[in-house]
């Protein structure tokens, strides 16, 4: 087996091993409630939003960048989409599609603006995206007048926000219903995994993160690729804005402005993507988000104090990164 492949499998196996041990311990402590299918589905549903944000962020971080504006973009795109949806006199799928496209356009535009100073002036993305964080959040409050914009046609979005997928089928099979947002997450994971691992664009993302000058001299249009990763990150934020808006029946400026940004970055890093750039994976980000989600869920089931939960989460993130580093060292020796 090749080194890269072995590396990949060791990573997966190690992640699964850690998860399995955790799961068994918690399940026993929680009198079996943890492993109930309904609980697992609940966790998947809860991680959907941070996972999708993390997927966009994964692209940026592999190029050795960072996008701090995603939380604010969830807020802004949600508000914009609610206003757009309320102004449309159509219904059903066309309403959903036009609304989502409007959000994606806003997210893509913000990503483009993020990227321009990074690629043209070589400014650090930490600064430009931090500025964008403030600007978009301010805009979001301005256009919403600081209040949630209620959807006049909230029912049309209910299927997306908290509907379930193939409900009759899962019911007939006595399975828990699969929430629609989880399906969105799976589709996003699938699409972006293919883009990152099988396309020229994806290969160039890794090349830029590994050695930008070598990539440029090999003919890679580094400015375009770097712009695109911020656009992708903005669009992922828009998808999350859409899902939240559909869930709450309104676009609120406060949505996305909490722990979303940092937990999305945590999911990426716990998932094995290097902040130094050059390596990472989408499926890793999913596992990172899953680990964090399971942890929160387990602590809730065990009635752990919510302040203490924060401490534990921080410790686990640190531990995960340390384990990953030790694993890399072990592999480079073995």
């Amino acid at each position: 087996m090749t080194l890269a492949l072995r590396n990949y499998w060791v990573r997966i196996v190690a992640a699964l091993a850690v998860l399995t041990v955790l799961v068994i311990v918690v399940n026993v402590a929680a009198h079996g409630t943890f492993l109930q299918p309904s609980n697992i589905v609940r966790v998947l549903r809860q991680i959907t939003y941070n996972c999708i944000l993390g997927i966009g962020q994964t692209f940026v971080i592999i190029t050795a960048g960072i996008d701090l504006s995603i939380g604010s973009l969830v807020s802004l795109t949600g508000v914009v989409m609610a206003i757009v949806a309320n102004s449309l006199h159509i219904g059903g799928i066309p309403l959903l599609a036009v609304t989502l496209l409007a959000g994606l356009a806003v997210g893509a535009a913000a990503g483009y603006v993020n990227a321009v100073p990074v690629v043209k002036l070589n400014l650090p993305p930490f600064i430009t995206t931090f500025a964008m964080l403030e600007v978009t959040l301010g805009l979001s409050y301005i256009i919403s007048h600081g209040r949630p914009v209620a959807l006049t046609n909230a029912d049309a979005f209910a299927g997306v926000g908290y509907g379930s997928f193939l409900g009759p089928l899962t019911k007939a099979l006595h399975l828990p219903s699969i929430p629609t947002p989880v399906i969105w997450m799976i589709v996003v994971i699938a699409i972006f995994t293919v883009i990152l691992t099988r396309t020229r664009f994806g290969r160039y993302v890794f090349a830029i993160g590994g050695n930008e000058e070598a990539a440029r001299l090999a003919g890679v249009n580094t400015a375009r690729i770097k712009t695109l990763v911020y656009v992708i990150s903005g669009m992922c934020a828009a998808i999350v804005g859409f899902l939240y808006m559909a869930l709450f029946g309104s676009g609120s400026p406060q949505t996305g402005t909490g722990d979303e940004l940092l937990e999305a970055i945590a999911a990426v890093v716990v998932g094995g993507t290097s902040l130094m750039g050059g390596q990472g994976s989408i499926i890793g980000t999913f596992f990172g988000a899953l680990l964090i989600g399971l942890l929160y869920n387990a602590m809730n089931l065990l009635n752990i104090d919510s302040y203490l939960q924060k401490v534990v989460l921080g410790a686990v993130i640190l531990l995960a990164v340390i384990l990953d580093e030790l694993r890399k060292r072990y592999l480079s020796k073995a």
Binding site: T2, T199, N211, A214, L217, G219, V220, G278
Partner: protein, 492 residues
Amino acid sequence: MRDIGKSFPGVRALSDVSLTLHAGEVLALVGENGAGKSTLMKILAGAQTADEGEIVVDGHTVRNESPHAAEAVGIGMIYQEFNLVPHLTAVENIVLGNEPTRGGLLDPAAARARAAGVLDDLGIEIPLDVPTARLSVGQQQIVEIAKVLSKHARIIVMDEPSAALTDREVDRLFAIIAKLKAAAVGVIYISHRMEELPRIADRITVMRDGRAIETRAASDFPPGDIVRAMVGRTVDAHYPVAPPVAAGAPVVLDVRGITRTGVIDDVSFNVRAGEIVGLAGLVGAGRTEILRAIAAADIVQSGSIAIDGMPQRLRTPGEGIAAGIAFITEDRKGQGLVLGMTVRENISLAHLAQFINRELLIDRTRESAVAEQKIEELRIRVTGPEQPVRTLSGGNQQKVVLAKWLLGTARVFLFDEPTRGIDIGAKAEIYALILTLAQQGAAIVMVSSELPEVLGLSHRVLAIREGRIAAEFSREQATPAAVIAAATGAAR
């Protein structure tokens, strides 16, 4: 060093290597890349630990478990790629990790005095108060030497110290080494440059395949014997002679008056199909910059180039590649390779479009097959296409860079220091490859700091000085003396 042994996963890097160094002696350590020189020296300097054997300094066994421990017993190492902090001044770099303090605060005056003291002993003056990034490569090396001397090193290891230096800087380096010898410092000198060994070394140790093969006094070790010991076979050290350019061969590359303010000044020349043009000159004369301008890696203020008679307006390296230019950069790790990627991914990087299938995805099967084929063609020593290039030796890394550029259909090949820091065997293979490309009708421009290499391979030599073409020589006219005179301005 006695009976040193070291193994890496799957490789026996060193076995039973013993080495003696006397005070006031220069011991040259030679061998092909991968022979174990660097590993041995890293063990001496505490950057790696040996599995077996012991190190004895002045009769005492020492345990060099860290670079710090090695420093404490007087061992200093100067790596080929310097370890200077570019934003700090020469003084700050020299005292780094060992700063004089007064009352818990830094004492700049004492630091300066210490640095100046070391440099005075060497009889050298360099700017002390500018960031080292602004010093020349030769001056940076002096800072490195001063750094180890300021820690009272009695054994100094220099890994290819002359590789990046101009001839004049090499002369100064040798003068410094002579002073070190006089001060009873022992120097271990690693080099790939055969011709400088008789000038600098007292004894020469040849390593091959992780063993010390032979040690002799330098005066009793002719180059032919050294090369034989290094490769374990006889190698024709001469440069292959390129056949003459066919009469009436068309001009492939035409460079007209390219100018980049302060760097390149109105440079014009052309290269015909099958022709190899060498650019000779001192480091910093603008040779690399001329290649970068042709490849559109830098933007020029004025001037133009044409390929096969077609005028080109190139703004990015990508457009250069599309126009048929392959630029093999001098700095493999910094500009040529993505070190974290595999051999396969590096080989395909510049021509990924070739591997895109109908679904717009990369066809990995074909990509692997092509990588395998290039590995075989160029005889790249790897476990397979999935090996990360980071783990390859210099010569094999350079072959991966070449493989990358051979995938396309380039008409113009720009080689910048194609054989720097690689072993003799790999050098000969790269010379043969350059000749083959020429025979296939490519236009070739080559830059090298090794004058014999430029003179040996080129049909024509352009001497570059201060960003201009100072003189042009045919192969017959290009004697080392004439070219050096033109490149240094001594001819006027």
